[in-house]
């Protein structure tokens, strides 16, 4: 779960990190109200992706009217895949310098890595590419966290020894997001050193592990539903499906993440364009198939659906019956191709045929068939 800036800042503040005064606004009136309380503010789009500034999602407001107008322009605009649901109005800081601090999971090292750089306010990926030596790194022991001397080394490695004390204190607080919140990634960029010598989080990113939600119910309740992302993804989440929306027009259901990704690749190779990723997991139970179909058919762009089920232990005839029930219950009108394999696969295919559904023997053939039936692309 990726938190919005204001949510990430709330979490950082709860860990004892200083943040600028700010207020969430869901309407131009609320933004005007925020200006009256805070004075000049930056009005910032709240979306869980980078590049807001370039997209016109951050505007400075020096008057109540400007705050109102900025909110009017920003709320509802689209930044990448997200419609901006609200803005965060935040007081400007008296900036002396900007630093980068964060952590993420270093997959290669199978560890967390703390990152610190004197080059704050820039895209850290770009810094990493152009001058990797400008980023200091520390892999803290995951049981005890970073020790003082390790952090001292980190700070001096980053050429930030002159502000070692406040910086070390801040990094220790930031690190708490790992044991306390199951954070996978946190980033304060820029971390602002004010002219008064304070360190304050200018921007903040935080991603919490979806696998850990069972022990982070507070975070899920507080922040889980705010984001107005894709409506199909929202619906899929309600139905406990693993679903990702894509741009195309062929609905995809597969069992297993790898097989499902592979099915998307096959459809594209056949000249079609997948509308989604939807992994229904092991058993391919009738109820789950129906839920998946229901979500996919909500999308008016969908011209056909391909179901690819490789059943190891799952019985093909049962999957076929489940698919037919789901199709009939949902009164499905668009073409449907079902590829199934597993025990009793022959019976399964017979049942499908009897009910007017095209069975596919291999994933590739099934992909070509659905592309042909939806008239999307060229068959090879």
């Amino acid at each position: 779960m990726k938190l919005l800036e204001y949510q990430a800042k709330e979490v950082l503040a709860s860990l004892g990190i200083a943040i600028p005064p700010g207020a969430v606004a869901r309407s131009p009136d609320e933004a005007a109200g925020a200006f009256r309380r805070l004075g000049p503010v930056a009005v910032k789009a709240q979306v869980p992706v980078g590049g807001r500034g370039k997209a016109g999602g951050i505007k400075l407001a020096r008057s109540e009217e400007e705050a109102r107008r900025a909110a009017e322009q920003i709320i509802g605009m689209h930044i990448k895949d997200f419609k901006v649901p609200l803005v965060y109005c935040e007081s400007a800081l008296d900036i002396a310098r900007e630093i980068y601090v964060g952590f993420t999971v270093d997959r290669d090292a199978r560890a967390n890595v703390l990152l610190l750089s004197a080059r704050g306010g820039m895209d850290i990926e770009q810094v990493a590419e152009e001058s990797p030596e400008a980023i200091a790194r520390l892999h803290p022991n995951p049981w005890r966290g970073p020790l003082d001397f390790e952090l001292t080394q980190l700070v001096y490695d980053a050429d930030l020894g002159d502000i070692a004390r406040p910086l070390i204190a801040l990094i220790k607080k930031l690190y708490r997001a790992i044991p306390d919140c199951d954070a996978l990634t946190a980033e304060i960029n820029p971390l602002v050193v004010t002219k008064g010598g304070e360190v304050v989080a200018g921007d903040a990113k935080l991603e919490v592990d979806d696998n850990a939600m069972w022990r982070r119910k507070d975070l899920e309740q507080k922040y889980g539903a705010v984001l107005e992302a894709d409506p199909y993804e929202v619906e899929a989440k309600k139905r406990a499906l693993t679903y990702v929306s894509l741009d195309g027009d062929i609905g995809i259901i597969g069992n297993g993440a790898g097989l499902c990704m592979g099915t998307l690749d096959l459809v594209q190779r056949a000249g079609g364009s997948p509308a989604n990723f939807c992994d229904i997991g092991g058993g391919a139970k009738a109820e789950v198939v129906e839920n998946a179909l229901a979500v996919i058919l909500m999308n008016p762009k969908v011209k056909g659906v391909l179901i690819n089920v490789f059943g190891g232990i799952t019985r093909g005839d049962e999957v076929a019956k489940g698919v037919i029930t789901a199709r009939d219950n949902l009164n499905m009108k668009v073409p449907l191709v079902v590829r199934l394999s597993g025990t009793h696969e022959e019976e399964g295919r017979e049942i499908l045929k009897e009910h007017g559904i095209e069975p596919g023997v291999s994933g590739w053939e099934a992909a070509k068939k659905i592309v042909e039936l939806t008239g999307a692309g060229v068959s090879r």
Binding site: R107, A111, P179, D209, W214, A257, G258, D265, F310
Partner: protein, 286 residues
């Protein structure tokens, strides 16, 4: 011959009295796996599926001499179960459980440094099978057959698909290892490739990777340094968009890292043929 697991391996099942654990224990027994016991705290002393149940792994190891374990306990308890197995002296730990918090796995990986003989497979994986001899996990034996192809994969069902195609083409498998779909894993592609390299029974190698991370690239670098195995690779997720998790916690492209293209190119540079679809794999291996 095979890698990691054979008919002599003494296996316990952690969570043997659970629904999943029980069902798959029976399947494992059907293959011929030497299941010598199971654990379920509070149920020690009972017999389940014809084998003794113990409260702890240490008790099970002491009584049975088990050297391998399959873990079927729910995610909140799985990290502890892995560490318990390592501490009890188990040298092959296979964790099937899906949804373990990543920070738990990072701590587990650090803990395992203290037990260099313990090898972890998974978590969030289908386990492994040496066809005709033994399996730990959930790979359906029906689609496998004994032979000389080593198969290593991050995906479950895609592995089944390929194993099934290989068996249909009378290309049996030495051992099939599902390393799992999480970002922080036990054995990597490279680890498993090195084991296959040393196994005289394995002559061919199939690697099934997916987007996210750089384990495939590392395995490609290893193979580029010279290999006696005829290898074919397949990568799923060519059409996956950046920044979205595709089902598996580890299947995510971050910026320009972890793409299918990068992995495919790494394999091609290493002289490994890359299949465009899983259907092509059998033909390329011949």
């Amino acid at each position: 011959m095979s890698i990691l697991l054979d008919g002599e391996t003494k296996v316990i099942v952690q969570g043997i009295t659970g629904r999943e654990g029980g069902f798959h224990t029976e399947q494992m027994q059907e293959v011929g796996t030497k299941v010598v016991g199971g654990t379920s705290p509070g149920k020690g002393g009972a017999t389940h599926l014809g084998v003794p149940v113990f409260n702890t792994v240490a008790d099970a190891v002491e009584a049975t001499g088990a050297n391998a374990s399959g873990i079927f306990v729910p995610a909140p308890f799985a990290a502890d179960a892995i560490m318990e197995a390592a501490a009890a002296g188990i040298t092959l730990i296979v964790c099937i459980t899906e949804g373990i918090p990543i920070q738990d796995m990072i701590r587990v990986k650090d803990f395992l440094r203290g037990y260099p003989r313990a090898r972890l497979i998974g978590a969030n994986c289908p386990g492994l099978i040496t066809p005709g001899q033994a399996k730990i996990g959930i790979i359906p034996q029906r689609i496998t057959s004994p032979g000389h192809v080593g198969l290593v994969s991050r995906s479950g069902t895609l592995t089944y698909e390929v194993a099934s195609a290989l068996s249909a083409a009378e290309m049996g498998q030495s051992t099939i290892v599902g390393i799992g779909g999480d970002p922080v894993l036990g054995l990597t592609f490279s680890d498993v490739v090195q084991l296959f390299e040393k196994d005289p029974a394995t002559t061919h190698l199939v690697l099934i990777g997916e987007i996210g991370g750089s384990d495939e690239e590392r395995a490609a670098e290893l193979l580029a340094r010279g290999s006696r195995l005829k290898a074919v690779a397949f990568i799923s997720g060519r059409t996956a968009p950046e920044g979205k998790r595709m089902g598996h916690a580890g299947a995510i492209i971050s910026g320009n890292r972890g793409t299918a293209k990068s992995k495919e190119e790494a394999f091609r540079r290493a002289g490994v043929e890359v299949a465009e679809t899983t259907d092509e794999i059998v033909g390329m291996l011949r």
